[in-house]
Amino acid sequence: MAITSLPSSDGQELTILIQGRFDFGAHQEFRNAYERVNSTPQRYVVDLKDTTYLDSSALGMLLLLRDHAGGDSAQIRLLNCNPDVRKILAISNFEQLFKIA
């Protein structure tokens, strides 16, 4: 599991890339990915294209990011979800809180 974050050139958007299992083990690293950046992004992208698995702790971490990014006004997109990940997000009805593509 590896998490990398990449701010856009204008600093408005932060892309967080999650590789491997996204579960409780990723907790600290995921927080670091958005807390330890110099820019103050307006938008966030969580790229799940290399994410093999996502559990309910990961859902909790996404909620933490949402809270960090302004709660109801947060703009967060979850990109490249594979069918398994998409199913987990769907069961929890996270499309009500995040843009899922």
Partner: protein
Amino acid sequence: MAERLSILIAEDNAADRMLLSTIVSRQGHRVLTASNGLEAVALFEQERPQLVLMDALMPIMDGFEAARRIKQVAGEELVPIIFLTSLTEGEALVRCLEAGGDDFLAKPYNRVILEAKIKAMDRLRRLQDTVLQQRDLIAMHNEHLLTEQRVAKAVFDKVTHSGCLDAPNIRYLQSPYAVFNGDLLLAAFKPSGGMHVLLGDFTGHGLPAAIGAMPLAEVFYGMTAKGYSLAEVLREINAKLKRILPVGVFCCATVLNISFQRQVVEVWNGGLPDGYLLRGSGERLPLVSRHLPLGVLEPAAFNDKYEVYPLALGDRVFLLSDGVLETCNKLGELFGEERLLEVIAANRHLPALFTEIQQALTHFSGEQQDDVSLLEVSLVDDAELSRPPLAFADNGQSHSLDWSASFEFRGETLRHFNPLPFLLQLLLEVQGLRPQGGALFSVLAELYSNALEHGVLGLDSALKANAEGFAEYYRQRSVRLAALTDGFVRFHLQLLPEGAGGRLIVRVEDSGSGFDPQQVPVEPRDAHSLSGRGLALVRQLSERCSWGDGEPGVRVEFSWLPGA
């Protein structure tokens, strides 16, 4: 400078012994000497030196035997033994190590090498020491933690299992292994005799996951016992969890409200895998998650919309936690939804399904499951359930017998407020009515929903003739209720002393056109009919039930004798 060690030198040759003693004590260590193995062992037991230099060949007891005995006495503590030997052939050196030696030093002695070996052995000795200390510390902490968890678990079980999970229409499987796994099963009778059932799964494991379960269970049991509806219980649980849990901790849950008399089930699923409604006819309806889990949304954004399904005797609802689908086999494959559906499809006898699912899981993974919650609730005849009497918290001294009160609940209020718990609380202040509390609540609930649905909202029960119409009826109900601005439901309550006992007269009227007694069937039309149970039930449960007689609405009476 290394720590000063106490070092035992066992050597039968006096000259060598002297030489070694000098070298070692010049290095700053305390020296003990023995001239044979037996002496060495005795000295070791007495003085417990930290390191031993041991000649291999000695009279009385040789170094090999002495080394074995010293290691045995030392136990877990590492007491390094360096063999002093002029032996050079490999086999002899191996014997030194096999007897428990940690290293050897060839004669003639080299001061520098001896010093280096003592230092190296001292490092090993300290490492072992640290490992042992930490192991003991961990063991102690673990013991402590387990004790705390056992106590917490006992409290947890008291709170969460205070309901009716042991009712004959419920079967469940909950992992007995993990002290806490974040899964939660709750079931409680409503005052009207129906049942609220909840299967929940908190994010995470262990204590953090279990902490949220306590307030959830308190709200669930407290509000259910007072007669609050499913939607109200859900709203309160969500608000409470949102308020007290940190962001990122929430509870996926499916909640059921089963009415045995009306033969319907209301279902709300937020975040759990599909549950299933399985009918005796073989039909299978998925109970799909349509909401965010509990504790995520602010109270104002929370959606309490539930689905309503008619039930027949023997119909079953299956609920499961994601642990069921995520059960792993030896190859790391997940059990998954498809395999579960295959098990359900292969079933020929509904009552056996619960066991079949359990067996399929065990067969698939090759072991008992430790993170699985499975729940089955079936619709049974009301009479098969023995309900506990309603519980009261006061001292039973209140006597209020002679009063009357009228309440009018208008449009705006009817949209959001359920007056039944409030009325029930008021009426159960009357001690004599308490033994009839369940019947009283059922009657009030029937009269209220009749007044609201037919009188105020103008819904037609004829719609409920089949399953689609049934769903349509409840769809219209929620649409019309949401748009409601006027109309009213009135409750007139009158209490009269009667001998040493008393009598309660309740009249319920509404703003509708009033109902036509000609249309009210004396008995439900037939056992499979999806409507028409309400008023028959009221008749059955109240002492007297009438309408007309120059008064609007329906009038019911309950009476009690002294000492009842």
